[in-house]
């Protein structure tokens, strides 16, 4: 055999192998099954109505809620932990009041989450929160609220920070008085019944409704000496306060991300790396198992084995039971979706809910829209970057003992290569939608 034969043979092999390969070219294509999976992730439909809040789709309520959202007059006293100190991004000095609004921690220019606090894993307000502040953009698509799901409706969620020491450190009594003092006409135009005249400090019945910053949970609060009927009056005002805020927050939706445009047929909307990342997202990495639906969250709770203490976590507690602790808080809250102040108690989700061991250390699946804008990540802000989040899942979560409870069975090593991790991150960046209309990002 001469070299000529070998040369001919080699040429033949090259042609054969080249012919054997797909002629699809360099771009990424998906199978029919993959396309079906992808199609279920977009577009982001209209926010479903919330039967427990009949004002959720009320434009006037939303406009009213927007005012409330930016108003600091509902807040209480800044505590020592939350006081402004060197470089921590605090909002005032110890004892200051009226310095905190919803917008203080859900900053409109930052996907309605906190980018002010230092360190940014948790948030400094009246004190320090124990968890990372979730963004409010697209929050209305969730079924459960807070990392631990201790609110079963958006309006329920809006109320809890008001009376939390680390957040607004205020009370429902003070909210009722502030509404009467500042928004009486608007409130009365929207809600029935009108604000009780007893909320007027000059009223003869004013002592039925003492203005106090101490919430019901405080044994020193005058709330505990009030008549149930008066408590009911205040609770209803407080619930309506939350429902107005929820109506506004329902409008905070970001759509038309590159991913949405790609699914709609714009092939150029995502680059090749992002498409490869999408393939991993729905395939090898199986992210879509939990990050499902247009919100990219299954609205369930999973223990992903996040190491509770890592990085700069000065304010993160050493232990966090997650959903296991959230369920009792939800069921004990008179102002939940199943309670008397719900507009449809039968549609509430708190009734009959019991925490089990499976809930220990579990947290709500984060919706991944806007995720590139919402670091740091995880319930305590333990993980700073998306790359590190991918690494966390690639490892199959942390080692047992570094977190509460037992990891979800789905948390197993993904065996991603470095380039695959990069592709996933690229895809996550393609989930950033158009900004919320500017008119919604400022107060009156």
């Amino acid at each position: 055999m001469t070299f000529g034969y070998a040369g001919m043979l080699g040429t033949g092999l090259v042609i054969l192998a080249a012919a054997c390969s797909d002629s699809a070219g360099g771009d990424v294509t998906f199978t029919g099954s993959e396309r079906a999976t992808i199609g279920a992730l977009s577009p982001l439909a209209a926010v479903e109505s919330d039967p427990t809040n009949k004002y959720a789709a009320n434009a006037a309520a939303a406009a009213f809620g927007q005012k409330l959202f930016f108003d600091t007059r509902f807040s209480g006293t800044i505590l020592a932990a939350g006081a402004l100190s060197s470089g921590n991004g605090g909002l005032g000095q110890i004892g200051d009041t009226g310095k905190i609004s919803c917008a203080s921690c859900h900053q409109p220019d930052a996907t309605f989450q906190d980018v002010r606090s230092v360190p940014n894993s948790c948030t400094v307000a009246a004190g320090w929160t124990l968890r990372n502040t979730p963004p409010l953009v697209n929050a209305a698509f969730y079924k459960w609220f807070f990392w631990d799901g201790r609110a079963d409706a958006l309006w329920v969620q809006a109320l809890l920070p008001v009376e939390a020491n680390g957040e607004m450190n205020s009370s429902r009594l003070h909210v009722a008085h502030a509404l009467y003092a500042n928004y009486k006409a608007e409130y009365n135009a929207l809600f029935d019944p009108d604000l009780d005249p007893g909320l007027d400090p000059a009223s003869a019945t004013a002592k039925q409704f003492p203005d106090s910053l101490k919430p019901p949970s405080d044994p020193q609060s005058p709330w505990n000496t009030m008549k149930p009927a008066d408590q009911d009056v205040v609770n209803r005002i407080f619930a309506n306060f939350g429902k107005a805020l929820a109506a506004y927050e329902t409008l905070l939706v970001a759509r038309n991300s590159p991913f949405d445009r790609y699914v709609a047929g714009d092939e150029a909307a995502m680059n090749t790396q992002a498409k490869l990342g999408l393939r991993l997202f729905i395939g090898k990495a199986a992210c879509v198992v939990c990050h499902a639906g247009p919100l990219l969250s299954d609205n369930k709770f999973h223990n992903t084995g996040v190491v509770q203490h890592q990085g700069d976590l000065t304010h993160v507690p050493t232990s966090d039971q997650g959903r296991f602790a959230g369920i009792p808080q939800l069921t004990a809250n008179a102002l939940n979706g199943s309670g008397a102040y719900s507009d449809s108690p039968k549609d509430g989700k708190a009734s009959g809910l019991v925490a089990t061991d499976a809930d220990r250390g579990a947290f709500r699946t984060k919706g991944l829209r806007e995720v590139a804008m919402t670091g740091p990540y995880m319930h305590g802000g333990q993980i700073a970057t998306l790359e590190d989040v991918i690494d966390h899942y690639d490892r199959g979560g942390g080692a047992a003992g570094a977190f509460e409870g037992t990891k979800d069975p789905l948390m197993v090593p993904l065996n991603l290569t470095a380039s695959e991790k990069t592709q996933l991150v690229e895809f996550l960046h393609a989930l950033t939608g158009e900004a919320v209309p500017a008119a919604l990002t400022r107060g009156p």
Partner: protein, 513 residues
């Protein structure tokens, strides 16, 4: 290179040198003797007078009277002629003495060199390949469409796989074009989506050293040039990715040939060839008839660490191989392999074979292995396999066939999903490969192989592999240092798995030295 070749080469070469010297000496001696004999014969037969042969064919006797006067004058006298012959004889004796001396000197040098015989060999395996589909031999059953029984198993549909992650092997090392979404087989050294690509499959270097005629050392290393990022992963994204190139220490063992009579016994220690089946003998590119391994090579072609004994009886017809090793005889690429053991129970493997001595080889063997499951710390989780093989090299036909069946039992705690503590693997596979030497440099071949396997790891993944492959190719020997091979493999899914494109065309140009 294969173990027998490594062992045989330098010794054979030295033996050949010695033999050659002996032959030269014998030939020289014979020629010298012949020359002398012929000279004496000439003397005896020299008519001197140019007369015709005597009747009866008998030559004139030395006692015969000289030719009569008046005849043609004989220039040299008989005495002169005798002196010349004596001188010639002395010269030839001197030459013979010199040759004897030369031979002795050579023998002495060979005897001195023999104990330090070294051999350095290697090869470069260069190829070109392409596949249909995306280069991966598996697909995921995302919607549980084909294996609905796993819908409630806790395993994400993305991690329910059908096909075989090694079905798209493109080279002698058994590396697939792409592992795709595989979760068990995670090392993806080629990872090019099956696109047509040139590739240096391996650069192999092998060392042999003979301490003496009984004790030898062998080592072989593959240097593997690959793409950045695929072989060395950083601990997190902040780490710089490593170079893709890596090396694979394939062999590293000592062999001691125990002095015996009537039978032979060799002892091995280190990282040596498998004892199961026959495919391991020809698994390296220069030795392999085909370009790629069979589907079951993963179970029998590994190179475990431990101790091995090989005995041959009945004029080498009956052979017995036994090894005690850290782990199974699985290949390193497959996720059952313990180079360094993680449990206390070693794996015992053995093979018994009989060669009918028909043609170059007509051998049948049975083999098996038993030990603690690879990569498990629990000694109580067993892993075993058994197999049978047939190897025929008769006239111009080369046939090999193997069957293997085995189980890695796996384990799970009460309440956990099956196989959660230790993965489960059940496998049965076989192949038959037939080659025919059409010409001394051309051997077309065909192979049919099949694999039926179940591999599950808790909720992490499950593979349901039921497939058959048909391979056709040709093997060209271009001189003594170049081998060219090319083949096409069609992969056919069996059972419930749907067919998908993952055929492979691949080739190999092996340059050996």
């Amino acid at each position: 290179m294969s173990e027998p070749a490594a062992k045989r080469g330098p010794v054979a070469r030295l033996a050949t040198m010695i033999m050659n010297r002996h032959v030269a000496f014998v030939v020289a001696f014979a020629l010298t003797s012949l020359a002398s004999t012929r000279a004496w014969a000439q003397v005896a037969q020299d008519p001197g007078d140019a007369g015709a042969p005597t009747a009866g064919g008998a030559g004139p006797s030395p006692t015969q009277p000289p030719p009569s006067a008046g005849a043609e004058p004989a220039a040299p006298t008989q005495e002169t002629r005798l002196r010349e012959l004596e001188a010639e004889s002395r010269r030839l004796r001197q030459e013979l003495d010199e040759l004897k001396e030369d031979h002795k000197s050579t023998s002495d040098r060979v005897d001195k060199l023999l104990p330090i015989a070294n051999k350095f060999t290697g090869y470069i395996d260069f190829g070109f390949f392409g596949t249909t589909g995306n280069g991966a031999g598996i697909r995921n059953d995302t919607d549980y469409a084909y294996f609905p029984e796993y819908r409630t198993s806790g395993i994400a549909g993305q991690w329910v796989f059908y096909g075989d992650p090694l079905a798209t092997m493109v080279n002698a090392r058994g590396e697939p074009a792409d592992t795709g979404p595989s979760r068990a087989l995670t090392f993806d050294p080629i990872h090019n989506g099956g696109k047509p690509s040139f590739i240096v499959n391996s650069i192999d270097l092998a060392l042999f050293h003979a301490v003496n005629e009984s004790l030898t050392f062998n080592a072989a290393v593959d240097f593997i040039p690959r793409t950045r990022n695929v072989s060395i992963r950083g601990q997190n994204s902040k780490d710089l990715p490593g170079l893709g190139d890596f090396l694979d220490v394939k062999l590293g063992y000592a062999e001691y040939i125990v002095p015996t009579q009537g039978w032979s016994l060799s002892l091995f220690a280190g990282k040596f060839d498998s004892v199961l089946g026959v495919e391991y003998r020809t698994q390296d590119a220069p030795d392999r008839l085909a370009v790629t391994p069979s589907l079951i090579c993963r179970y029998t072609c590994g190179r475990p660490l431990g101790l091995k004994a090989r005995a041959r009886f009945l004029d080498d017809r009956l052979a017995l191989n036994v090894s005690v090793a850290n782990g199974s005889n699985f290949v390193e690429l497959f996720p059952f392999y313990n180079e360094i053991d993680s449990n206390n129970v070693k794996t015992v493997s053995g093979r018994v074979s009989y060669d009918l001595h028909i043609g170059k080889r007509f051998e049948a063997g049975f083999s098996g292995a038993y030990g603690a499951q690879d990569l498990q710390s629990d000694d109580g989780v067993p892993q075993w396999q058994t197999g049978a093989d047939l190897s025929i090299d008769w006239k111009d036909i080369v046939l090999t066939a193997e069957w293997v069946h085995g189980i890695a039992q796996g384990a799970a705690n009460i309440g956990d999903p099956p196989c959660a503590t230790a993965p489960c693997l059940h496998f049965t596979g076989a192949y038959a490969q037939l080659g025919y030497r059409v010409l001394n440099w051309l051997t077309p071949y065909t192979r049919v192989d099949t694999r039926d396997a179940f591999h599950r790891d808790g909720t992490s993944f499950v593979y349901i592999s039921q497939l058959m492959r048909v391979t056709g190719g040709a093997h060209f020997e271009v001189g003594t240092n170049v081998v060219v091979k090319a083949e096409y493999t069609h992969v056919q899914q069996l059972g419930r798995a749907p067919q998908f494109p993952n055929d492979v065309a691949t080739s190999s140009l092996v340059l050996k030295f």
